[in-house]
């Protein structure tokens, strides 16, 4: 087991542990902070996959923008401490657990039959030009999905503006 595997296992354990704490903490701000730890762990996994660009984008978008909005929204709510004391489990939690277990077994089984499952990490041809290659492929090979995603984002933006527009004027 190389250093990469050890680092991966540590990062994966951190992500899973933090994810469990997100759903079990009673304090909403603590839950949001554990979510940030989980997102950081995912960024570390990206670095291990030699995708430094994705790691940085993960930090900029998820931690720098989305999670801070979570904290913002939580700070504006009452009852952050969660002193209601009731059970945090839904009565049919075992159905959800069973389904997720089945899903995980299915994914692992499909992946293990895939021919690329046991291959080593291939060396990347042009390490310095990774980002410009990504940019070029976004506007050539993957032009249609890229444009579709931007149309979707614009539609969401317009929707947000419409929802928050004051109609009384």
């Amino acid at each position: 087991m190389g250093a990469m595997q050890i680092l991966f296992l540590l990062a994966a354990a951190a992500v899973l542990g933090a994810a469990i704490l997100v759903v079990t903490s009673r304090n909403l701000v603590h839950a949001a902070l554990w979510l940030i730890v989980a997102l950081f762990g995912v960024a570390v996994v990206y670095v291990l996959l030699n995708a430094g660009f994705f790691a940085i984008v993960q930090v900029v978008i998820y931690i720098g923008a989305i999670a801070i909005l979570f904290i913002f929204a939580v700070m504006l709510t009452r009852q952050i401490g969660g002193k209601d004391g009731g059970s945090q489990n839904h009565s049919t939690w075992w159905v959800a657990a069973l389904l997720s277990l089945l899903l995980m077994v299915g994914i692992v089984w499909i992946l293990s039959t895939w021919q690329g499952f046991a291959t080593e990490l291939p060396a990347l041809a042009n390490e310095k030009e990774l980002i410009s290659e990504l940019g070029k492929s976004l506007v050539s090979t993957y032009l249609l999905p890229f444009e579709l995603a931007s149309v979707l984002l614009v539609a969401a933006l317009i929707g947000a503006i419409y929802v928050s527009w004051e109609k009384s004027r």
């Binding site: 304090n27 701000v29 603590h30 902070l33 940030i36 430094g52 660009f53 940085i56 984008v57 930090v59 900029v60 931690i63 720098g64 923008a65 801070i68 904290i71 913002f72 700070m75 504006l76 390490e127 310095k128 990774l130 980002i131 410009s132």
Partner: protein
């Protein structure tokens, strides 16, 4: 070889941390001296010759102050917040190049910790976006209305100005055709500073305004507006924890000056730097001193902007201006190559 490289990184990181923390102490003195001169006073001149021991006296005083944690504060986050605030300020300049690669003790030593990182500009953005957390959490965990409002204002302000800050990087990235800050400086050497500015006419102004808002300095120091919020997010902090917030603010001043110098004012470039590479760090240092003087001058001159004006300036003027700036650069790059 591996060990040598490792040692080299540790030594360079140590030097950077020492410069940033030592720089923090002396930027406080620099600011007090310059402010005093602008207001026709003398400034601190009792501790040591010309007052140069004043930061040490202040530090010792703060260490011996009592640490208070308010009742019903979220203790863990209350202690964590100052640490989260200082950490991004210390690591953000890791991608700034200090000079050309030098040969020291028979080894090729690039000046800077990771000057050629291929996501350098994005790294700066990522770290800048994390630095909101410390202030927001400090405000919330204090269990104090003024502090919470200060924290909320700080996060709203920093999120708004981050957009303009990020967009002011884009023209440089387009011109250098790279995100590595080393390539930015080398492109400036190749193009000449005048052409670099003509290609992005609004870039330096937008970066400087947005970065002052980003480090919460006057005239954008809304999160700690004394008249309205007593002291903003750090109202409940005392002793060394307060000192850490203070430290983060001044280290961030140094950091944004270094980044501004690298992106828009030639970084380590200067006369004779191609023949004598050790002049690079000295030029960078000089440029940082000049930019810091500008920041202090602004604080001494301008009154604080009202909060709604601040937000509408950020969204209605600065953001369209930075989009226009990107557009101008794109058109010029397409026409003139």
């Amino acid at each position: 070889m591996q060990l040598g490289l490792f040692l080299q990184w540790i030594i360079k990181s140590g030097i950077l941390l020492a410069i940033m923390t030592g720089g923090f102490a002396y930027v406080t003195l620099y600011e007090r001296k310059v402010l005093a001169r602008i207001q026709v006073r003398i400034g601190p001149n009792r501790a040591g010759p010309l007052g140069i021991l004043q930061p040490i006296a202040d530090g010792i005083k703060l260490i011996f102050k009592e640490e208070l944690i308010p009742a019903r504060a979220d203790k863990f986050i209350f202690i964590l917040a100052p640490i989260i605030t200082v950490f991004p300020a210390l690591v953000i300049t890791a991608v700034v190049p200090w000079g050309e690669t030098m040969t020291l003790f028979g080894q090729q030593v690039p000046l800077g910790i990771a000057p050629d990182l291929n996501v350098g500009a994005l790294y700066v953005m990522a770290i800048a976006s994390i630095s909101v957390y410390g202030i927001t959490l400090a405000g919330w965990s204090s269990n104090n209305k003024y502090a919470t409002l200060g924290g909320l204002r700080a996060s709203a302000q920093m999120i708004s100005y981050e957009l303009a800050l990020g967009l002011s990087f884009v023209p440089s990235i387009m011109l250098a055709k790279s995100m590595s800050l080393m390539d930015h400086v080398q492109m400036q050497a190749q193009m000449g500073m005048l052409k670099w500015w003509l290609y992005q006419p609004l870039g330096p102004a937008i970066f400087l305004i947005a970065s002052i808002a980003e480090v919460n300095r006057a005239p954008f120091d809304m999160p700690e507006a004394e008249q309205e919020l007593t002291a903003g997010y750090h109202t409940e902090y005392s002793g060394m924890k307060f000192a850490l917030f203070f430290m983060a603010e001044y280290i961030k001043m140094i950091a944004v000056s270094m980044i501004a110098a690298t992106l828009f004012f030639g970084g380590y470039l200067g006369p004779f730097v191609d023949r004598l590479p050790w002049l690079g760090p000295i030029y960078l240092f000089g440029k940082v001193i000049i930019l810091l003087f500008g920041m202090i001058w602004l604080r001494a001159t301008l009154p604080r902007i009202r909060y709604d004006r601040l937000m509408s300036f950020g969204w209605k003027i600065l953001l369209p201006a930075s989009l226009l700036n990107v557009f101008i650069t794109a058109v010029l790059v397409v026409i003139f190559g």
